[in-house]
């Protein structure tokens, strides 16, 4: 299993890469000088400092001799997080096509069933209530222009 140390190393490395990219981009934008500050000035110094600190943090994690602990409680539970993320991404992609009502029903059903492992009766009640109440709140009460989708509601 992925250890917390490895996860921290990966995350800090990503921050380091980000800071290098920002520093290069800011340099390209022109730094100017203290008399006439360019658009890249502030971000360049921020990114440079962040790069130095990320490098220091990365070195500290690499040198650390602390006991190795797993990053996640179990892969089985991590799958729940991954499912939640995938369902959210996929349904957002089709939000405009499906429309608010279908999206709400599919979203609730998928999460309650796949991640929450809820029974069908309870699932149906919660899905129906959430869809109706949120439709009433956002569309009727607040008059927010939510996608109507192929159903046209």
């Amino acid at each position: 299993m992925l250890s917390k140390k490895l996860l921290e190393m990966i995350f800090t490395l990503c921050l380091l890469i980000l800071s290098i990219w920002v520093a290069i981009e800011s340099w390209r934008l022109s730094l100017g000088n203290l008399h006439e500050i360019g658009p890249g000035f502030f971000l360049f110094f921020v990114a440079t400092l962040m790069g130095i600190l990320s490098l220091g943090s990365l070195t500290k994690v690499l040198m650390s001799r602390a006991r190795i602990v797993p990053a996640f409680s179990s892969y089985k539970k991590l799958i729940g997080v991954i499912w939640t993320f995938i369902i959210s991404i996929v349904l957002t992609l089709f939000f405009d096509t499906l429309g608010f009502v279908i999206m709400a029903m599919l979203f609730m059903t998928a999460l309650l069933r796949l991640v929450g492992k809820e029974r069908w009766l309870r699932l149906s009640i919660v899905t129906a209530l959430t869809t109706v109440l949120s439709y009433f709140l956002f569309k009727v009460l607040l008059k927010i222009e939510l996608p109507a989708g192929f159903l046209g509601i």
């Binding site: 995350f11 000088n33 500050i37 890249g40 921020v46 990114a47 729940g80 979203f107 929450g116 939510l146």
Partner: protein
């Protein structure tokens, strides 16, 4: 006298039907988020943030402020009955509150927490009323260097107060600056870090980032760690009204907690969490029986509960008088003001007295509402705690998605929120804090603007920050806090090296 007449006009504003309804909705949702573990006031505020666009500014602010201080009330219920803090400021309440409940005093514990919160909230408001207007008047003398210095000192203090590593806190502050810098440059109009994407040209919005890091990050953590509510001490809730002796034992702690909490609430990054811990430490030090703390001492409950509520009023001081948010929650309020075209700052009180006095009056009314919500409705909140998280999280997540979509009516914001949700989850796993990032994201553009204005004023001389008295003092404080934390970081290592060399010499 002038303040009193302003306050009366504030009450007239709040007592309008729409405002009073939003005040109730705010404190109700706030209590709900406080009661439910794993969902903080920040997430709820972000969720209802789009709602504020459709109403007058004061109505939206009454709602958002209500959520904030309502959460402080609600958090104590879960701490006392389940030994799980409903939100972070209630961690200390668990220590003696839960012990009191276990000994059969759940009713008085809930009562003291509610009355303490009410008294502290009201006292905090009185001090806020007295402190904010003169401070705003004083702040009118501030120029860009002073504003830069206030924000710089604030961010330094935030990193100093960070719960974990200071280096990690600074990395998060710098990341916040970078995210805040995305979009068109204010002075030249040049596109910065937009990757050519249209949605990034106007910069990143606060709500998708805040909701992602705090709302979704928390949801992902709870799904993985399967937060379960422990044993509910519901059979022992009786006698919510404290006895005369309980009042006598706790009133001093309430007063001390109120004053301490208010001033700690003003400090950037301080807020309710630090206030509650500081009050607990103070009460333990002053007590003739410190050994009773952690075993159900009533002062250990009354002090911190009062302090965390008073701190919420204190946190409004820098926002309403200087226009600078002292924590992430205040950042959302800045966003709500700016969306409505109101510039937070020293001119807010004189330019928009209805906003300032309306918020103050709404907090008085909200505090009274909370007392009514928290005491008679305890059984309802307890029943809510029994709803499994597997049912709650899809509803919360769905409301987050629709809430963030409603701001600009574009799916791109949902993707941004989901992306930052994953970042927030990894940050929690790797002990990087989200609050410094969010505050730096809000303050970053202001900091850059004031820095560039200062440089234009001084013709590129950095000495402008040191030669002006106010900015000089503030920058000095900032450097001092950096220096002391660096010393604290180096000293143990030097000591460790010395001990090693001593050992070698002996050998």
């Amino acid at each position: 006298m002038e303040a009193f007449s302003h306050l009366i006009s504030g009450f007239f504003i709040v007592l309008q039907p729409l405002n009073i309804l939003f005040c109730f909705v705010g404190v109700f949702v706030g209590t709900l988020t406080g009661v439910l573990p794993g969902f903080g006031p920040l997430g709820a505020m972000c969720m209802l943030f789009p709602l504020t666009f459709r109403f007058p500014p004061i109505t939206g602010l009454i709602l958002l402020a209500g959520i904030y201080y309502g959460a402080m009330y609600g958090g104590s219920t879960t701490s006392i009955l389940v030994n799980i803090p409903g939100e972070t400021a209630s961690v200390v309440t668990c220590l003696d509150g839960y012990q009191m409940a276990k000994k059969g005093f759940a009713g008085p514990a809930l009562g003291i927490a509610a009355f303490g919160s009410f008294i502290a909230g009201t006292m905090g408001l009185i001090i806020l009323m007295l402190v904010a207007p003169p401070l705003a008047e004083f702040a009118l003398k501030f120029g860009p260097p002073e504003y830069f210095a206030v924000m710089f000192a604030g961010l330094t203090i935030i990193s100093y107060l960070a719960r974990g590593s200071m280096v990690k806190a600074w990395i998060m502050i710098l990341l916040g600056f970078i995210l805040g810098g995305v979009g068109r440059d204010l002075f030249t109009g040049a596109e910065r870090l937009t990757l050519g994407a249209l949605v990034l040209q106007e910069g990143l919005d606060l709500a998708p980032i805040a909701m992602g890091i705090f709302g979704l990050g928390e949801i992902f953590i709870n799904i993985e760690e399967s937060t379960t509510v422990g044993e509910l001490l519901t059979n022992k809730i009786k006698g919510l009204l404290p006895t005369l002796k309980q009042w006598k034992d706790s009133i001093g702690a309430m007063m001390r907690g109120s004053v301490l909490g208010f001033f700690l609430g003003i400090i950037p990054g301080g807020g309710a969490v630090i206030a509650s811990f500081a009050s607990y430490a103070l009460e333990k030090k002053l007590s003739k029986h410190p050994e009773l703390f952690g075993q159900g001492a009533i002062q250990g409950l009354a002090g911190p509960e009062s302090a965390n509520n008073s701190a919420t009023a204190g946190a409004f001081v820098p926002l309403l008088s200087l226009g600078i948010p002292s924590n992430a929650v205040m950042g959302i309020l800045v966003g709500a003001l700016m969306v409505q075209g109101i510039q937070p700052g020293p001119l807010l009180i004189s330019g928009h007295p209805d906003i300032f006095w309306g918020i103050i009056a709404s907090m008085y009314i909200g505090n009274a509402m909370l007392l009514g919500l928290n005491l008679p409705m305890i059984p309802m909140w307890v029943r809510l705690l029994r709803v499994p998280y597997s049912i709650l999280f899809p509803i919360i997540l769905f409301l987050c998605i629709i809430g963030v979509y409603a701001i600009n009516l574009r799916s791109a914001d949902i993707f941004i929120m989901l992306f930052f949700g994953v970042i927030g989850y990894v940050m929690r796993k790797t002990d990087f804090e989200g609050a410094p990032l969010l505050l730096a994201f809000i303050l970053g553009p202001m900091l850059e603007k004031t820095f560039r204005q200062s440089m234009a004023m001084s013709d590129g001389e950095l000495s402008i920050f040191f030669t002006r008295p106010i900015s000089g003092v503030l920058v000095g404080i900032a450097f001092l806090s950096i220096l002391t934390s660096m010393l604290a970081f180096i000293r143990p290592k030097v000591r460790g090296v010395r001990e090693e060399s001593d050992k070698t010499e002996i050998e």
